[in-house]
Symmetry: C3
Subunit: 323 residues, 3 copies
């Protein structure tokens, strides 16, 4: 794709400072930019790269207009990161062949599944009986959508994801496990993105529900009967156990775990690798990670941690003795 800076501003807005006629052939990070690239500065931490970047044009916020303009062409916009997102979308439309609509001949789609004609089903995908895929959704290679599971509109499901395997439900019976058949399905809203090899289990009785605008990264596990609120995002390797109810506008960092039957309010943010063991009813940022250290220091502190309660008692005893 070859466009001028003026073309970009005509399509996406923003104020151009400097030579609007320069040609752009590439979007790049400031570090890797070449003289035909456009870059962006969203995080002030990387401000130092302004001086050294070779980019023809940099997208910046108003506060950095002068500093950026001193080195070359600039597009000024209130939210450079959002501007970059939209530029990337325009770029892809132009340079990538549109995903072929319809069903790849190697996919196995049950005759009773309802696939919108504007949707695309990738190679070697498997779509079960009574399942549905909404308008403009793109189902990647090797995705499984099991019987009776529903995908909304404009969703993206990446390769290897499994939607609607059985939830993990067993009744103990004299040391053995008796299978509880999973009679519910999975309902996925609109504008949901689901990562590669991510799994979302079908409900035991009711459906597992993923609301509109949810974004799940790769290798995420969503247990049966979970409900994930709208516009919540989860990074890679997150595990959400069965019947958890997670609010809207939440974020879960990579590797976080939410135990079953818990409730998280809207706007709860969980740090990476944190395990949530009880419900959180108040918005905020929550963490629980053992701070890493060099191994020798960690060993000493970890060993002492196993005596922590006893240390507290000893401290109390001292306090009593000390007037």
């Amino acid at each position: 794709m070859r466009v001028t800076i003026a073309d970009i501003a005509a399509r996406l807005g923003g104020e151009v400072v400097g030579d609007a006629g320069l040609t752009i052939e590439r979007i790049a990070s400031l570090e890797a930019a070449t003289p035909n690239s456009i870059g962006f500065l969203a995080n002030p931490r990387y401000r130092g790269q302004l001086a050294s970047t070779q980019a023809a044009c940099v997208i910046v916020a108003p506060a950095l207009r002068d500093e950026a303009a001193a080195r070359g062409a600039v597009i000024v916009t209130p939210d450079p990161y959002l501007y970059y997102a939209r530029l990337s979308q325009w770029w892809v439309e132009a340079v990538r062949p549109a995903a072929r609509r319809g069903i790849h001949p190697s996919a196995v789609v049950d005759a009773s599944a309802a696939i919108d004609p504007s949707a695309s089903i990738g190679p070697l995908a498997s779509i079960g009986a009574g399942a549905s895929v909404g308008a403009h959704s793109r189902i990647g290679a090797r995705v499984v959508i099991a019987d009776g599971c529903h995908i909304g509109e404009r969703c993206i499901v990446h390769p290897g994801a499994v939607i609607g395997a059985d939830g993990f439900g067993f009744a103990p019976n004299q040391g053995r496990w008796e299978k509880i058949e999973q009679l519910g399905g999975v309902r996925i809203g609109n504008d949901v993105e689901i990562g590669a090899n991510t799994c979302i289990d079908r409900g035991a009785l009711d459906d597992t529900v993923i609301e509109d605008g949810v974004k799940l990264d790769n290798l995420v596990q969503i247990g049966h009967n979970a409900r994930i609120g709208a516009h919540t995002a989860m990074a890679g390797c997150v595990g959400v156990a069965g019947s958890a109810k997670i609010g809207a506008y939440c974020t879960l960092g990579g590797g976080a775990i939410v135990l079953g039957h818990l409730e998280l309010a809207d706007h709860v943010h969980v740090s990476a690798a944190t395990t949530i063991t009880r419900s959180i009813l108040k918005p905020g940022l929550y963490s629980g990670v053992f701070p890493f250290d060099d191994n020798a220091a960690w060993e000493k502190n970890a060993a002492t941690l196993r005596q922590l309660h006893a240390l507290r008692d000893r401290l109390r005893a001292l306090e009593k003795k000390t007037p």
Copy 2:
């Protein structure tokens, strides 16, 4: 499916109190039950839902007979959860088309694999040379069973699982890694259930062994040469490293990790997200999770944790000074 309460009791036992002629069309949670539903009360924590549920009939334990009967029809049974499990099994038999026996035409099955005629192999599955699948086992869509791996009878393998990829074995050689070919296989007993996208590696020399009745949830990793004892269950995202020997009747919570070459006795229970770093020879419940907190409180405590050993020394010094 439409049955009366009397029909259910005739098939599954239990004592009916109230109108046995009511028609049931749905199994539901007490919360979501409609007037044609049957529900169950297994956890006394949800006892409060008895008053408000619209269910036509509730399955309860003897202790709750009178309380439940006061609101409508009841089936009384010693273990309502097990009763519900069996009801769900009957329901599925009746409402779901039986899994088609035999091999889906899109599956790729080596001519030397032994598939029992009563087993079913799902769409786009891949079964290697010399592999076998026992009677009544159901292999889901897109499962891989590699060369020389064996699945017992009445097993369920969910979509995307990979049985028999190479174990992770390398000999260090001047900073590089020299591959150790994995000459063993995987042997899976009877009545085993394996979750979506779960991986069980083949052994280095001997086989990796999963004994009868084991239940593995989604995205579980079982390293080479591990041995998982009968009727042990693991929730999602568990990782078991190579050569670990886990006893029978164990449970591992979601995201738990067991390091390699360890041994866990029978009846060991590991909490979610706990890392097991040495063998456990005594039955019991074991935990090791950093308690999460709001981020500011966590940061303070985590920073102090890195000085814990030094704090202990300071406490000792004080104790010596204080008579």
Copy 3:
């Protein structure tokens, strides 16, 4: 395969002590060895097994020559584990049918993909437009290599791996997420091994890069724009977030997590289940695992941990009072 000890030494070197004419039909652990087996002793911890093993021949280091020779035939070599690795490779060449070169008829390979004629593409794999696979690489069943992703020479990619799904990139926009299209690809060097169901995302602008000799176990997640240095190895369930730069010759234990935009120097080793929250510029071993305990002891210590900072303040106050 049936060979004599002399045949093995002729091919792989080492000094034979004892009867070089004995026939070997199996490689086995010392514990499981039968009288026609060859075993090895790499870890002095297992020295006690020398006395009891039934192996016809044991591969040992010079220090154990006499002790091992006292019980039967021996091959003496400076590095028994490396010797075993090479023996396993020879064994596989002899006993396993060579992976069929070329593309399995059930695989879906875009016409524009460049597959080296010496490479093999497994059943039901999907290779996208403009992708490439180098000489002698083996792509397993059901692997996805997305558009424009490149695999070097002599690589092994295990079943279910997904190379080149979109990185997890979104710009927040009034509580919703605006997709950032991922314009980069994935570049994988030579001699790389990638585990089952592992995911490596394509870069946002530049490529995600996996350098030569890297070994990734199963269910590993590599975020977009990460760069993994040569000969680094990661055990199962590791998660590396976007834009992390990991050095060469590193190892990450199972379930470890590396947050985004961090840098790890060469020769950094991370213990299993440890979360790396800031860059590590110095080689060494780093850990951060909550020590597990029986649940009652853990509960007490974990509860106290939430007051740790306050305990430190109380200790300080006592210190001030105590002369």
